[in-house]
């Protein structure tokens, strides 16, 4: 856009004095008042002297405490910063017109392939800056990102809790696969594809922005890999200027959140055991009853002595983590450089669990205006993770409080009541589980302007990843007793290597076709190659737990070493055309033709593409006098693919094996019959949405409604065995996801001292299974009939939701017998549980989830809060099923065991007879509606005064106090963090530049 710079200066006489001041109004193109424009006054040495902001009327007033030349700088997000040189004779009233910056980062959508202009972008995306990410936490990008992006969901995993070494599953706009892994989005860092682990181990301080591409138009350039969405992360580019140092340090204190654990104390536990009948026997051998009486008396005595061991606190600690990030950068208009070094030590709340990260990013870039730009980024990261030797947290939850971990001499007991192994003893034996990862990534980007309109882009990246995992099981461990002396103890080492290459070549033409139509076209191709290898070997027989290294083992374990070696390659050609007419109407077309080695010869290549369009309503004449600054309507539709599954399913391969030895010769047999007709899984994604900015830019709203229809899903199907195989993989499955996303922000206050805004986002997704294979149906049947699992296993029925919960309706507990009454399909009541009476009784997907946030500043102070919410999900409460009803009286249990279970005829209770210990039937009694509200983050920050900072030679310094997960309010009472507890944390960060 070639808009004329308007500059109106009005001359108003003003008395000359030592103390002079400037005032005026800041507008956009001379008509719209701009609120919240930052006005800074700089001296001749370019140092900031004072600063202010425009008020609700776009008015500012600033005093100049000195004589001589000064500069007034007006800056506002999305606008070109304007510097005005002033001297003692300049007019005192200064009205300023700012111009929209169409090249600014905020107006560019980072797609990781082609930067696209926001005003003609037809896709659905959310972009988050590093400041925003940091304002809700410093742990990892993914957790922070989930606060801002509607439709971006971290699936809650109640087992792994806040384990720093456990990876969460992420979905964007729902699951479109029957297997978890292929619903993970694609992660791109500086143009190169990386694993989710890589993202997890990135330091947010090094990130410039994170963009989530959600629909076809936004992500079609990624074609076959984009069906589950794309997360594009760019790291900070070096800025010009003299050498500048930044140092960020964060110290975090984490404490386990045990509020949902309501366990019995020793007196209650003993009484529960008595009521459950553990101290009575029906045997006529009276010596047995006598023994039980003695046992009861012994334990009563312990209770009377006040023994009440707090088992769950034993493996826990308050974790102290810290993270240091030191960087420096500099350069001139042409050459720039930056180096960022990071050391982080994340301590988990279970003793000795943690994740250490050490890394460096080295960047060099060279720019020759209108000629070429070259940039190279090299990243090295080393991660060391250690699992807690204390094992699963659930082992501590079940321990009886009348047991003490140590005997009277202070030695750890090996066995506790009811022959339970003492997990603390296990933890003391020197077993460990640790791993080390090493990443190396280098990306090289080159842009060459062939003419002013025509640009050639080339990018090449190489990623190397190496993982070494070591698991040592002590020979003294309880689990090793079954083996002979020379077989006890084991050391398992797994080595994984990955090597990726990605290359891309693009030609872009940006040109006005006519006076009205601006065209951006890109023609390109890319190729990638991924080699991965893994190898595991195991040694056994350690004569002491101190000899914890494979070379001290007695020998190798029997059997074959395991491992895998896979190569996958892809090749794609694409063309993108974007046309905008008068800044009002625009269309965007992407076509991509892509090939992958994972597919059979007949279907190796497949086309993908998208078509999008939009209308900038605010540029219409009839909108001139409406208080709407931006209203963009947009739609898109297109095909995306998914290749996130194991290669070689399409080709017939022969395997030589020792099972095929015949008369002293080794034979080869096909593993299976390849399916050369295997097609690509594809997703038809359609999106309709609008973006609105109104009320003098105080109000912003984005709304999207989408549908994603995934078909050709690869599933196993049964074949007539005469074919030669009993099962084969075919393109059978189909899943539909529909949903709504909303994102809004309102600035309540914005004046000289105060800014205050509130924001909210909301997501809703509903999945529907359109078709599945007979093999999956058979699996469903088995899952449906399973009575040994506590929670109902997933059941996929055509026409139903992916997350439907199928249960037998319950009429409650019969007060007469303490047994559960079930409701049959015909409505009659029965005591007999029949899996055929199961019906779909709920859906574990919520009606909606999202974030509520607020952000306020007062002078140099800032405050931000982010609340997560979810409502309407039907959740099968396994705590009730295992810790209240199905609880084993030999283990400690939830206090509701004692208070809410049926004990004698006439008790009207929610839970069965206290004496029944079997796994309860899967009925609606445990199905509860989950609504929760959690304070994800709350932070207070202070930015030190620049004048004061100058005195101590600092450019910038902020200090921030932040807390994560302070509270969690839920309509469901259930134990959270089964294998590893959830944590609450408080952290303090200091960020300085000098």
């Amino acid at each position: 856009m070639k808009k004329l710079l308007l500059f109106l200066g009005m001359l108003v006489t003003c008395a000359l004095s030592a103390q002079r001041g400037y005032q005026g109004v800041v507008t956009l193109k001379g008509n719209e008042l701009l609120v919240g424009v930052t006005v800074t006054l700089k001296g001749s040495d370019k140092n900031v002297i004072a600063g202010t902001m425009t008020d609700e009327n776009g008015f500012y007033k600033i005093d100049v405490p000195q004589r001589g030349k000064v500069t007034l700088s007006f800056s506002y997000v999305g606008f070109i910063t304007k510097d005005i040189q002033l001297n003692d004779n300049s007019p005192r009233t200064l009205n300023v017109v700012l111009e929209e910056d169409l090249q600014a980062l905020e107006d560019i959508v980072v797609t990781g392939i082609v930067p696209k202009a926001k005003n003609s972008f037809t896709g659905s995306y959310t972009s988050v800056s590093s400041e925003q990410l940091l304002s809700v936490g410093t742990k990892d990008v993914i957790t922070s990102l989930s606060n801002f992006v509607p439709g971006f969901q971290i699936l809650e995993n109640n087992s792994i809790g806040s384990n720093p070494n456990a990876m969460q599953e992420i979905n964007i706009r729902g699951r479109s696969s029957f297997e978890g892994s292929s619903s993970m989005p694609l992660f791109i860092v500086d143009g190169a594809q990386v694993t989710v682990d890589y993202i997890y181990d990135m330091d947010i301080n090094n990130i410039s922005s994170a963009t989530v591409l959600k629909d076809a138009s936004a992500s079609a350039l990624y074609g076959a890999r984009a069906a589950a969405g794309v997360v594009v992360i760019t790291t900070k580019a070096p800025e010009k200027g003299k050498l500048r140092f930044n140092y960020n340090v964060t110290t975090r204190i984490s404490a386990p959140d045990l509020t949902e654990y309501r366990l019995l104390n020793s007196a209650e536990k003993l009484e529960y055991e008595r009521l459950a009948g553990l101290y009575t026997t029906s045997s006529t051998d009276y010596s047995q009853q006598y023994e039980l009486d003695v046992l009861y008396a012994q334990r009563s005595a312990l209770v009377a002595q006040g023994v009440n061991t707090d088992w769950i606190s034993k493996p826990l600690r308050t974790g102290v983590s810290h993270n240091h990030n030191f960087s420096f950068e500099g350069g001139d208009d042409n050459a720039r450089y930056s180096v960022a070094l990071r050391y982080g030590n994340e301590a988990g709340v279970m003793k000795d669990s943690g994740r250490d990260r050490l890394g460096g990013i080295f960047k060099l870039s060279y720019r020759k205006e209108n000629s070429f730009f070259l940039s190279n980024t090299m990243t090295l990261t080393s991660v060391k993770s250690t699992e807690s030797p204390y094992g699963s947290f659930s082992n501590y939850v079940i321990q009886n409080p009348y047991d003490t971990p140590s005997d009277e001499f202070g030695a750890l007991r090996t066995v506790l009541s009811y022959n339970k192994e003492n997990p603390l003893y296990e933890a003391s034996l020197g077993s460990f589980n640790k791993s080390e990862q090493f990443y190396f990534m280098n990306t090289l980007d080159a842009n060459i302007w062939l003419t002013s309109d025509l640009r050639l882009d080339a990018a090449f990246s190489i990623t190397k990843q190496k993982d070494d995992a070591d698991i040592f099981v002590s020979p003294l461990s309880y689990t090793q007793r079954a083996y002979t002396l020379t077989q006890r103890g084991s050391y398992t080492q797994t080595n994984t290597k990955q090597l990726n290459f990605t290359g891309r070549l693009m030609l872009s033409l940006n040109k006005y076709l006519t006076d009205h139509i601006f065209m951006t076209t890109t023609l390109g191709m890319n190729g990638d190659s991924n080699d991965s290898q893994s190898m595991t070997y195991r040694t056994v027989g350690f004569y002491s737990n101190k000899l914890d290294y494979p070379s001290f083992a007695a020998g190798y374990a029997t059997g074959q070493p395991s491992g895998s070696d896979a190569v996958a390659r892809g090749l794609g050609y694409f063309v993108n055309g974007n046309f905008i007419y008068d800044d009002k109407y625009f269309v965007d077309l992407i076509f991509r033709y892509e090939g992958s080695s994972k597919f059979g010869e007949n279907q190796r290549y497949a086309p993908f593409g998208s078509l999008g369009g939009g209308w900038n309503v605010h540029h219409e004449n009839f909108m001139k006098n409406v208080d709407i600054q931006n209203l963009k309507l947009r739609f898109s539709g297109g095909y995306l693919g998914n290749i996130n599954f194991s290669p070689y399913q399409a080709i017939t391969t022969y395997r030589y094996s020792n099972a095929l030895i015949y008369n002293g010769m080794v034979g080869a047999a096909p593993i299976t019959i390849g399916n050369p007709d295997l097609k690509w899984e594809r997703t038809l994604s359609t999106n309709l949405g609008f973006d609105l900015t109104a009320l003098k830019r105080k109000f912003e709203l984005s709304f999207d409604v989408y549908r994603k229809l995934t078909d050709n899903l690869l599933l196993d199907v049964t074949k007539a065995p005469s074919v030669g195989v009993t099962q084969a993989t075919e393109n059978i499955g189909s899943i539909e996801n529909r949903g709504v996303e909303l994102q809004a922000r309102y600035i309540i206050l914005n004046n000289k001292d105060w800014t205050w805004s509130v924001s909210a986002n909301y997501s809703y997704n509903k999945s529907k299974i359109k078709s599945i294979s007979d093999v999956l149906k058979a699996q469903n049947e088995a899952n449906n009939n399973n009575t040994t699992s506590v929670a109902p296993l997933p059941i996929y029925e055509e026409g139903q939701s992916m997350t439907a919960v199928k249960l037998v309706p319950s009429a409650g507990i019969d007060p007469g017998t303490g047994q559960e009454v079930f409701i049959r399909r015909d409505g009659t009541y029965t005591f007999t549980y029949d899996v055929n009476d199961k019906r779909i009784m709920g859906d574990s997907s919520p009606y909606g989830y999202g974030t509520l946030g607020t952000y306020a500043t007062y002078k140099n102070w800032q405050l931000s809060a982010s609340l997560g919410y979810s409502f309407g999900a039907s959740v099968y409460n396994t705590t009730l099923a295992t810790r209240v009803e199905g609880s084993d009286p030999k283990n400690n249990a939830d206090e509701r065991v004692f208070n809410s279970r049926w004990k004698q005829p006439g008790d009207v209770t929610q839970y069965r007879d206290i004496a029944i210990t079997s796994i309860p039937s899967q009925s609606t009694r445990f199905l509860e509606t989950e609504n929760y509200l959690t304070l994800r983050s709350l932070s207070v920050g202070y930015q030190f005064d620049t004048n004061w900072l100058r005195k101590i030679k600092l450019q910038r310094a902020t200090v921030e106090l932040l807390t994560n997960d302070l509270f969690y309010l839920s309509s469901i009472k259930r134990e959270r963090g089964l294998d590893y507890p959830f944590a609450r944390s408080v952290e303090m960060s200091l960020r300085v530049s000098f």
């Binding site: 191709m525 190729g527 290898q533 895998s564 070696d565 896979a566 190569v567 996958a568 390659r569 892809g570 090749l571 050609y573 090939g595 992958s596 080695s597 190796r604 290669p647 070689y648 080709i651 017939t652 391969t653 022969y654 395997r655 030589y656 099972a659 095929l660 030895i661 015949y662 008369n663 010769m665 080794v666 034979g667 080869a668 047999a669 096909p670 593993i671 019959i673 390849g674 399916n675 049964t718 074949k719 007539a720 065995p721 005469s722 074919v723 030669g724 195989v725 009993t726 084969a728």
Partner: protein
């Protein structure tokens, strides 16, 4: 530019999985074809097929050669209880593994047709492949269809010619047998010029023409199989012709001498001079030992209760003793056990069992005898007597086989006496189609499809073309 890179792209996307060999690489040299054939033989030698189920195990239990009172599947099998889930699982596994092995053979044939390589070994490989396809299909027909001679239009079955995921074409049983014969004709033609020598002690790698050639589907095995097939079809003339062809190969095959030691050598594996084709496998010693010698095992199999009657041991004299009884069985105070293949723990430890015979010379004499009976009684009796004499028995009394009925009754028992442990008795019962007694020696079973025809797998009926 794109086009140029696109052409490169074809190769770029051809990726080779490690530890596995893509089909086109497998068959890029002659050794690959050989390995694939070794793979076929090894697949046949698994316990799912001829390593147990289709020889001394499941099939000989259904054939009432052995009995068991504790294992669900063997008890069900001996009762012909094809609704029993475990019995069905065995029937399904046998079906699936047979066709899986056929698919392997088909891929060898497909690649032989496609290859630009040439080799002096391709004829023998091709001949064996066609023969194996016929052999496997023939056994499928004998298991899953009504007897071809007695019920020529009773069943339909898929005959697999290709290695792909398409459903295989279904043939009427007469067309199905025509396909078997066509494959055997091909095999015969390809193997015609091959020179085998059982007396050549050279150890050679596959394909074998020296003394170990009977471990593979050789030219004589093709003739023997043709004799079997024609016999099953009731084509006496051709059955006789091919049985005679095998018997006439005196330099290669001969009935064992009339001594216990010679018989012990001849009836096993490699069963030099009597075995025409057998599978080589050295890892079955323990399995077979568990089946017949270890009473505590669930799969423990006992011989028929009327064993002694069957061998007619009361009539044994100095000049008329059935050596097979001594070689096949060991009598102890409490029980009699089948020791034909392996008898002692020491043999297990030494890996004594080297394989199992699948086609043997005595059967050729039986086929010859039966197919000549109507036209030339003397020759028929001579054929039977030849086997009897080599086993230590006197020639059969002409009066006891004076009628065809009596003769066939004698043949049923003779086949049982000779072929126990080979999985052939069930096929005999089915072909003779007469009432027979179960392994307990008392219950009589009437011949019927319910007894003689294995059920098709449900998945075959539901997903295959069998009902189309």
């Amino acid at each position: 530019m794109s086009l140029a890179i696109g052409l490169v792209g074809c190769d770029f996307l051809d990726v080779e999985p490690k530890g596995q060999v893509p089909e086109d690489r497998q068959f890029e040299d002659v050794d690959g074809f050989k390995s694939a054939m070794i793979g076929v033989y090894a697949s046949m030698a698994t316990t799912d097929l001829y390593g147990c189920n289709l020889t001394y195990g499941f099939l000989d239990v259904v054939g009432q050669v052995f009995r068991n009172s504790s294992s669900t599947v063997y008890v069900g099998a001996s009762n012909f209880d094809y609704t029993n889930q475990e019995v069905r699982t065995y029937c399904n596994t046998i079906w699936a593994q047979m066709y899986s092995t056929i698919a392997q053979v088909n891929n060898v044939i497909y690649n032989l047709d496609k290859t630009r390589l040439s080799s002096s070994d391709f004829n023998i490989i091709r001949g064996e492949a066609y023969a194996l396809r016929a052999f496997l299909h023939f056994d499928i027909a004998r298991l899953y269809a009504q007897d071809r001679a007695n019920y020529p239009a009773a069943s339909r079955l898929p005959y697999s010619y290709s290695f792909d995921l398409a459903n295989k074409e279904i043939y009427s049983i007469s067309d199905y047998y025509a396909n078997i014969l066509a494959d055997l004709d091909q095999a015969e033609a390809y193997l015609e010029d091959e020179v085998y020598d059982i007396n050549d002690a050279t150890l050679s790698t596959y394909p074998v023409r020296a003394h170990q050639y009977t471990y593979y589907f050789n030219k004589y095995a093709v003739w023997a199989l043709k004799a079997r097939v024609y016999y099953t079809m009731g084509d006496d003339a051709n059955a006789q012709k091919y049985a005679q062809k095998v018997i006439d190969e005196k330099t290669q095959f001969a009935l064992s001498a009339n001594t216990i030691a010679a018989l012990k050598e001849a009836q096993g594996f490699p069963g030099q001079r009597e075995m025409i084709f057998g599978i080589s496998t050295n890892n079955l010693s323990q399995t077979v030992y568990n089946h017949f010698r270890v009473g505590s095992q669930e799969e423990y199999l006992l011989p028929r209760a009327d064993l002694k009657t069957r061998y007619n041991i009361t009539a044994f004299t100095a000049t008329n003793t059935d050596n097979r009884y001594t070689v096949y069985y060991e009598e102890s105070s409490s029980t009699t056990q089948f020791i034909r293949f392996i008898s002692t723990q020491n043999e297990v430890d030494r890996g004594y069992l080297q394989g199992l015979p699948l086609i043997r010379l005595p059967e050729m004499y039986y086929i010859l005898a039966e197919s000549l009976y109507d036209t030339d009684f003397t020759a028929a009796k001579a054929a039977l007597d030849a086997v009897r004499q080599s086993r230590g028995l006197e020639p059969i009394d002409s009066t006891s086989v004076a009628t065809k009925e009596d003769f066939l009754n004698e043949m049923i028992i003779e086949r049982y006496r000779e072929m126990s442990g080979e999985g052939q008795v069930f096929f005999a019962l089915k072909h003779y189609n007469k009432a027979f007694t179960r392994a307990n020696g008392t219950t009589t079973v009437q011949p019927s499809a319910a007894v003689f025809v294995f059920p098709l797998p449900d998945d075959e009926v539901e997903f295959g073309n069998i009902n189309n």
